[in-house]
Amino acid sequence: MPPPHDHLIETEVDGEICLYDPKREKVTVLNATASDVWRMVDGTLTKGQIIDALAASYGMNPDQISADVDSTITAFQQDDLIA
């Protein structure tokens, strides 16, 4: 998994991550679930490892969350938040 763009400014507000892209002057506010996924996207973990780790933290089976995690990561890519 590619890492987040290093020019993004990131801050957390009440458990939800807010991202500011100064190049595009765009703000993205991630909901709680997307924030959990974002915290795992550091360029060192594969998508499968992220799914497994989040599933374990939620006490769920990886199959139950893989589609949602996958679509969240796709949204990060479409919004140009990750390289």
């Binding site: 801050t11 507000v13 807010c18 500011y20 002057e25 703000v27």
Partner: protein
């Protein structure tokens, strides 16, 4: 000879307004009553002038004519709109398109676009007992303090009717004093209300603090001047406030519900 030649501080900037017409001078002194007056010359103050000619009322800004109108009321509305635009273009602090009221120690903002109902809701809150901070802009300085911007409220005929006020043709300009209200002293923002007019039922619900970040930046006038600073201020402020969604159809009922919930 000027009927009025008064200086005011608007959004932190000095300006001067003058006219030779005594009736217009009386109205001007009244509608500008929410702003701090200055005496004597202010360095760097912009000067606005409203002058009557044979057929027109002309508005000047720093000796340049900016508009001409058929009546003094039209000239006044244009003058105030010009002042508003300049004040918000020039303001150095983080500014958001928003109505703002104060209830005791609580300062409540209603970020919204033009025509989104913030002036009507602000007026309804004043009638429900709130103090007036602004119907146009939430201005937050670097110490995260809300700076009052008490321009006169401009209410449409529809708004006047729904608020139980006497309507005027076109817009009616009212100061908080016309509504027997006080000016809010400013302080720290405590609540952000995302108001949705047109809902079939009246409801007030909590939202996450992050929604305040989205709302404040989406409605900011001047985030583009220093986007990183605007982001920092919006996120710092968002951490400290309560965030609400207010769905309503009747501004007066909405104001009563919100006032009761914030009490």
């Amino acid at each position: 000879m000027w009927a009025t030649n008064q200086g005011w501080v608007v959004a932190g900037k000095p300006l001067r307004i003058r006219t030779q017409d005594s009736d217009l001078a009386t109205v001007l002194d009244h509608v500008m009553g929410g702003f701090e007056q200055t005496s004597g010359a202010s360095r760097g103050a912009r000067t606005f002038q409203v002058t009557k000619t044979a057929s027109k009322w002309k508005v000047y800004r720093d000796s340049c004519q900016v508009s001409a109108h058929h009546s003094p009321s039209q000239a006044l509305v244009h003058l105030l709109a010009t002042l508003n635009r300049i004040a918000l273009e020039d303001v150095d602090d983080f500014a958001v398109h928003s109505g703002v009221v104060q209830m005791g120690s609580r300062i409540v903002a209603f970020p919204a676009v033009s025509g989104g109902g913030k002036t009507t809701l602000t007026a309804a809150m004043i009638l429900a007992g709130a103090d007036y901070v602004s119907d146009e802009a939430l201005v937050i300085d670097d110490s995260k303090r809300v700076v009052p911007y008490p321009k006169p409220l401009a209410l449409s005929e529809w708004s006047c009717r729904i608020l139980g006020l006497d309507p005027a043709e076109g817009e009616r300009l009212l100061t908080p004093f016309d509504l027997d209200a006080e000016l809010g002293a400013g302080g720290s923002l405590t609540d952000v209300v995302i108001a949705e007019f047109g809902s079939a039922h009246l409801e007030l619900t909590h939202l996450s603090n992050a929604e305040a970040v989205r709302s404040l930046l989406a409605h900011s006038f001047n985030h583009y001047k220093d986007p990183a600073r605007a982001f920092r201020i919006a996120t710092d402020v968002a951490r400290e406030v309560q965030v609400w969604r207010l769905q309503y159809d009747d501004p007066m009922e909405a104001a009563k519900l919100l006032a009761a919930s914030l009490d």
